[in-house]
C-alpha cells in the first residue's frame, strides 16, 4: 500500500499539514532543536525508508554533506543561519525531498542552511547547492550533484552512476569503483583519484583535469578541456589504448606506447595514438589549447 505524506516545516517547529487519502503508514519523525543565539537554529528530520530510496536535497546557499547511515532511515540535520530561511520537507513513498526555502530579504549569509545527511548506502541521491560545498561518502546508489560555485567532493562510492555538474566549482572524486561517471564544468578543475568504471567522462572548459589511477575496468575514459591542461598519471602496467590530441597545445607521454596508424599520429608534439599492455580500456584525452601529459607513476 502506497502512502504519501508531506509536511511543511516552519522554523519554529514542524507543522504537519496533511496526510494523503491513502492510509499513511510511512513514519516521519521530525524533531526540532532551536538555539536562541543569533536566530541560528538546528533541526533534525527522520524518515523511515526501504531499500533503494531516493533522497533529494536542494539549497541555494549552504553546505550539504551526505554519508552512509543505517539502511532503513534518512536523517537530516539542518542548521539554519537565520529566520529568513525555512526548510521544506516532503516524503512520498520511498522518496524524500528536502529544500531550503528563502524568504523575502534573505541573502547569502542569512539564507544559508547547512545540511548533514545520513542515508542508506544504496539510496539514489540528488544534491543541488549554488555555493556548496557538496560532499558525499561511501554510497553505492546513483548520485547526481549540481552546483554553481560549489566545491564537490565524492569519495568511496561504487557500482553507480555519478553525474556532477558545476559552473566553476572544483570537483574531486576519489575511490570510485565500477562507476558510470559523467562530469561537466565550465571552468572548474576536475580531480579524479582512483576512479574506474565502464564509463568515465569529464569535461571542463577553462579548468584543468587531473587523473591518478589505473584506467581499469576495460572502460571508456574521455577527458576534454578547452583551455585547461590535462594530466594523467597511470602505473607502468596500465592496459589501455590512448588517443591524445591538443589542437593548439603540446602533448607528452613517458609511456612506451605501441603506435597506431591514425590521422592523429601524424602530428608529432600535438597528438599521439598508441596502446599499452593489453589495451583493455580506451582513453581519449582532448584539448583545444591546453597541454596534455600522460605520465608513468
Amino acid at each position: 500500500m502506497a502512502s504519501f505524506r508531506k509536511a511543511s516545516v516552519r522554523q519554529a517547529g514542524i507543522q504537519q499539514t496533511s496526510i494523503h487519502n491513502t492510509a499513511a503508514v510511512t513514519l516521519v519523525l521530525a524533531t526540532c532543536l532551536t538555539s536562541a543565539a543569533f536566530a541560528e537554529s538546528k533541526k533534525e528530520y527522520r524518515f523511515a525508508v526501504g531499500p533503494n530510496a531516493i533522497v533529494s536535497v536542494d539549497t541555494q546557499y549552504g553546505a550539504i554533506s551526505v554519508k552512509s547511515g543505517s539502511g532503513d532511515r534518512v536523517i537530516v540535520t539542518a542548521t539554519l543561519k537565520s529566520d529568513n530561511v525555512e526548510v521544506d520537507q516532503q516524503q512520498s513513498g520511498n522518496r524524500v525531498e528536502i529544500a531550503s526555502h528563502l524568504l523575502q530579504g534573505a541573502n547569502e549569509q542569512t539564507g544559508r542552511v547547512d545540511y548533514e545527511v545520513l542515508i542508506p548506502p544504496d539510496a539514489t541521491l540528488n544534491l543541488h547547492s549554488s555555493i556548496g560545498p557538496l560532499s558525499v561518502e561511501q554510497l553505492h546508489g546513483d548520485l547526481t550533484l549540481e552546483g554553481t560555485d560549489a566545491v564537490v567532493n565524492i569519495s568511496n562510492v561504487e557500482n553507480c552512476h555519478v553525474h556532477v555538474r558545476t559552473m566553476r566549482g572544483p570537483i574531486t572524486l576519489a575511490g570510485v569503483r565500477n562507476g558510470h561517471v559523467e562530469i561537466a564544468t565550465i571552468s572548474g578543475d576536475i580531480h579524479l583519484k582512483s576512479v574506474t568504471g565502464p564509463l568515465v567522462l569529464a569535461s571542463s572548459g577553462g579548468g584543468r583535469i587531473f587523473y591518478d589511477g589505473d584506467f581499469g575496468a576495460g572502460g571508456d575514459y574521455k577527458f576534454t578541456t578547452h583551455t585547461g591542461d590535462i594530466e594523467a598519471l597511470a602505473p607502468a602496467d596500465v592496459s589501455a589504448e590512448f588517443r591524445v590530441h591538443s589542437v593548439l597545445g603540446r602533448v607528452h607521454t613517458d609511456f612506451p606506447l605501441l603506435p597506431h596508424h591514425s590521422r592523429y599520429s601524424m602530428k608529432a608534439g600535438s597528438s599521439f595514438v598508441g596502446t599499452a599492455g593489453k589495451a583493455e580500456s580506451a582513453v581519449v584525452l582532448r584539448s583545444f589549447s591546453g597541454r596534455i601529459r600522460l605520465k608513468q607513476r
Binding site: 526501504g50 533503494n52 513513498g93 520511498n94 593489453k278
Partner: protein, 203 residues
C-alpha cells in the same frame, strides 16, 4: 518466456506491482516511479545489448517506458506486466533498427561473405573456452556480432524468449531463428577464442 514472472513487489514502497499499476492508472507519479525502478535494469540492459550504444539505449528505454505508461490504462493483467513491457521494448528497439536500415534478421549469404570473424589461422585452434567467460569479454563479443545475429542471440540467450516468440517479433521463420542463434553462438565462440589468444600473446 523467462521474462514473464508473476507479480512483483517493490519492497521500497511496500506495494505490489499490481497495486502500483492501479495507482499509475490514476496518475500517481510515485506509482509510475515504482514501476520504472522495478523494471529499469531489465529494459535498459536489453536495449544496450541490442544496440551497443549507451546513449541510444537510454533513448530507447525511455521510449519503451513512455509507450507502456501511455497505454497503462488498457492493461488488464491477461499477461504478466513484465512480459508486456519487454515485448514492447523489443518492438521499440526493432523499429529503431529498421528505421536505421539495419537488418533485424541476418541476410545470411551477404553476411557470410562480409563476415570479418576471426578465423582459425589466427592461431586460436588450441584455445578452449573452458571454465567461465569474462562478462566484459562476452559483452564485447556480442557488440561485434552483425546486428541480425545479435538480435536473435540477445532475445534468446540473454533475455530468454522462445524461438516462436522471436520469429513473431522479428518476422522470420522459427527455423531461421534457430539457425541464426546457432551461427551467432559459433561466431561468439570464435571471437572469444580470438580474444583469449590475443590476451595470451600480449600478456
Amino acid at each position: 518466456m523467462a521474462a514473464g514472472k508473476g507479480d512483483l513487489t517493490d519492497p521500497k514502497q511496500g506495494i505490489t506491482e499490481a497495486e502500483a499499476i492501479e495507482q499509475a492508472k490514476r496518475g500517481h507519479e510515485a506509482a509510475f516511479e515504482v514501476l520504472y525502478h522495478l523494471h529499469k535494469r531489465r529494459v535498459y540492459s536489453l536495449c544496450l545489448r541490442m544496440v551497443s550504444n549507451p546513449a541510444q539505449a537510454e533513448d530507447l528505454a525511455q521510449e519503451a517506458f513512455l509507450q507502456l505508461f501511455r497505454k497503462i490504462s488498457t492493461f488488464r493483467g491477461e499477461s504478466a506486466f513484465s512480459t508486456w513491457l519487454h515485448r514492447m521494448t523489443v518492438n521499440v528497439v526493432l523499429m529503431q533498427l529498421r528505421k536505421k536500415g539495419l537488418p533485424v534478421v541476418s541476410l545470411e549469404e551477404t553476411l557470410e561473405a562480409e563476415d570479418e570473424a576471426p578465423r582459425k589461422e589466427f592461431g586460436t585452434r588450441d584455445v578452449k573456452l573452458t571454465g567461465s567467460i569474462d562478462r566484459l569479454q562476452l559483452q564485447r563479443a556480442i557488440d561485434r556480432l552483425p546486428p541480425g545475429y545479435r538480435t536473435v542471440f540477445v532475445l534468446h540467450d540473454v533475455e530468454g524468449f522462445e524461438h516462436n516468440e522471436i520469429a513473431q517479433m522479428v518476422g522470420c521463420s522459427i527455423g531461421n531463428s534457430k539457425s541464426q542463434l546457432h551461427k551467432a553462438r559459433l561466431k561468439l565462440r570464435e571471437y572469444l577464442k580470438f580474444m583469449r589468444a590475443e590476451k595470451a600473446k600480449t600478456g
